[in-house]
Amino acid sequence: MRWNPNASHANCGRSLKAITICVLIAAFTPSASTPATAQTLTNGSIYSRFGIGQRESYSSPRAQAMGGGGLALRSVAFVNHANPASLSDQILTRFAGGLTYEGITESATGAQESRIASGYLNALQLSFPLMRNKLGIGISFEPYSRVSYRVDNAGIAVVDPESETQESFVTSHRGNGGIQRIGTGLGAAITPNLSIGVRADFLFGIVGETQQTDFQNINLRDATLASSTRLRGLTGTAGVRYVIRTVLSDQDVLSLGATYTLPVALSGERVFTMGKGENVDTLGTSVDGAVHLPLALGFGVAYQPNRIWTFIADIQYEEWSAFESDLPLPGYVVGDSGGFSDRVRISAGGEVYPFARSSLNLFLQRVAFRLGGYIDPSYVSPDRNQEIKSYGFTGGVSIPGITGGTSLDMHIDIGRRGTTDNGLIQDKFVRLGVNLNFGDLWFDRARLR
């Protein structure tokens, strides 16, 4: 794990530029039509239709392979944006970003399984130290919620009852968009053991629902009906992390982390439209209203018995039972939040550097393997009597780059969501994530002249 950041300075600069361009192109290519949402594909879970979409939790490529969370994680090789207090742990200017492929097998009672797949952006994160390992800043762009579904239904309509003429059609119900979060945080180490941090987040996005009816007969007009809800608002998160050294042995470190996120009232504007492309008509007038997102609390613990092993456990709480919205949402009737329930996400995982003590191969020394799991009940359900839970097992590998501080992190998340009871759907999902984590020395004069 030893490396000299100055030695590879020149190459790193070029590499960072290349990676940044590459990731940005890759990240925005599938979202060219609506860059504001950064995700346009509509082949995700049907459960993402409800509320403001499926909650997304992404902190770092490292934590993602350990079940998520990581509120107490500390490392100079990965910046932990989940807890702004962790932004104090920085030596290098760091850029991280990645994409996820998600394959879902949907099943329902009495129906054939359906397989769908989508790809989307995990996050784009940039951070740099103001004072090495004491004060750091982070900027991140990541999804807060995601709406991505598509259900097609073929049908036959009698279009002329007198002649009993029938025409076949396909109705495609689609949802896309979600809420994005772009924020900047500041973390400071008050003492060698205590760090605190704050982060301001601008939440914005468009939640769209579309019903498109296409007739086989070209003499019939196809129809595209859509509702689009534009949301935006500001929130803030405060975080703290406390490190206790030599708990059970001389080498071990126990870290405790906690975060508190303020509730936020997103201002919303909803419009209904008909048509597509240049021939879009707005139906009626737009409807304005506020969507109140609840407060969130998080608590995490990380234990490192030595430099080989790291274990984490996290619990994140969001008070969705207090959710309010002036705009009706799928699963929510204005004034009645009975369909919403508090979200308590629990996760745990571990990381190991199995070759950390190998003196033969510097590359292998920095290869890490990760495992984890989580349970994540949804805050909203199509059926008030049936909670929709997600369970998942995660794993991953971190492959170090040629230059120090750089890694390619891959993770897999295999799990289930929902149930086939009560006419609902069960998703079996596999997510494969690829993340680039790149560190470079910026804003620092070379010491040798």
Binding site: C22, R115, L424, I425
Partner: protein, 393 residues
């Protein structure tokens, strides 16, 4: 070198993810969780709030512009004659026609003397008693007159009578040699460069007979011989004035008579059934009928075969032909077109300013042909069938 490797690495990792993510195999699983978003297509049948003969008469004026090809607007057939239809009352028609300029005239023609003028008219229509001849009066026209968009209830002033013409209603072509006195009197005018502005055409009215005949403007012309040259002068505009006595049509039917009637169809589109809906298909349908009418032997009363559906928008200024259809073998008239679909979609979205529909005979082939419509919904009166998807906001 490092950058190249990284680019290759990025391409190798991200592009497959994007491409695989674009995989598309949607199904209907989960349909029960989305069907509240909007409904399935269904048919709404709207009956008109008014289905009556318009106070406006049919358009019978028209003109032909002959350049590289013949361009037409409005009626291209003019009618003349009078007949007593025992079912519909007396129908009287007077027609007029005028001619294009003499641009093709040679110097010899312009400097010579007109020796003869022959009016050729292509008789291609008859309504009434075709067994007895028709006597017409050919007159000059003194005033300038317009044909574009002029309706059949126009009042015509005529000039001096030129001659009388005996017409066999079953003939195809009439060749009428104009009297020498008229030719002499108009010798200069018929050779003049200002012929088109100074000569105002001929007026035709009935003296005797029990039939109305029609002439095709495109194949009617005036042949003028001067010196050694003969010049054919084509018709450039026509107009027919038609009068019909009070119709005695049975009240349960609505008569559409070409050249005379236009039918107004008014709907109330401000109804919850369709407001803001998506229109997939619009069909406007009417049942025609053939009531038993008194028809003497040898009396010819042609039926109207085609009808146009016209949208009247704005301040009655904009007229758009949405569709033109033939009556089918079952006597049903069914309009269905992209223009009708778009017009209905615009209307339910509160734009387009559709005031009403009009039913009228195609203007070009002007005639007195008739069509009877059922009025009541039970008997197949007019109905607008709209296939819609309801928007649930």
């Amino acid at each position: 070198m490092v950058s190249s490797r990284l680019r290759l690495l990025c391409s190798g990792i991200f592009l497959p993810i994007i491409l695989v993510g674009c995989g598309d195999a949607p199904s209907n699983i989960g349909l029960g969780l989305v069907d509240v978003q909007a409904g399935e297509p269904f048919v709404v049948s709207l009956e008109p709030t008014s289905f009556e003969t318009s106070s406006e008469a049919d358009i019978t004026g028209g003109f032909l512009t002959i350049t590289n090809s013949i361009q037409r607007a409005g009626a291209t057939r003019f009618l003349v004659g009078s007949t007593f239809d025992p079912a519909l009352g007396t129908l009287a028609a007077e027609g007029r026609l005028n001619f294009v300029t003499l641009e093709a005239a040679t110097d010899a023609f312009r400097n010579g003397q007109v020796s003869s003028a022959v009016l050729t008219m292509d008789l291609d229509y008859a309504y009434g008693d075709t067994l007895t001849p028709l006597t017409l009066r050919l007159s000059s026209i003194l005033d300038d007159w317009s044909a574009a968009g002029v309706r059949s209830d126009t009042v015509m002033s005529i000039g001096e009578p030129i001659m009388e013409i005996e017409v066999d209603p079953t003939a195809d072509l009439l060749e009428i040699e104009l009297p020498g006195s008229w030719v002499s009197a108009n010798n200069v005018l018929l050779r003049s460069e200002s012929f088109s502005s100074d000569f105002r055409g001929f007026h035709l009215s009935q003296i005797d007979g029990n039939v109305v005949v029609g002439f095709a403007a495109a194949s009617s012309f005036l042949r003028i011989a001067a010196a050694a040259d003969t010049l054919r002068v084509d018709v450039d505009k026509v107009l027919t004035a038609i009068k019909r006595d009070a119709s005695v049509t049975p009240a349960e039917f609505l008569l559409l008579q070409d050249g005379v009637d236009i039918i107004d169809v008014v709907h109330d589109f401000d109804t919850d059934e369709i407001i803001n809906s998506s229109i997939h298909l619009a069909i406007f349908r009417l049942n025609t009928t053939l009531p038993s009418l008194v028809t003497p032997v040898g009396y010819y009363r042609p039926l109207l075969e085609s009808v146009s559906l016209v949208a009247i928008t704005g301040n009655e200024e904009s007229r758009t032909v949405l569709d033109e259809r033939d009556v089918d073998d079952d006597g049903i008239l069914s309009f269905q077109s992209t223009n009708l679909n778009v017009a209905m979609q615009n209307t339910v979205l509160g734009r387009g300013d559709l005031v009403r529909f009009e039913l009228q005979a195609p203007i070009e082939d002007n005639s007195l042909n008739v069509l009877f419509f059922e009025r009541t919904p039970e008997a197949g009166g007019p109905r607008l069938l709209l296939t819609v998807t309801e928007v649930r906001q």
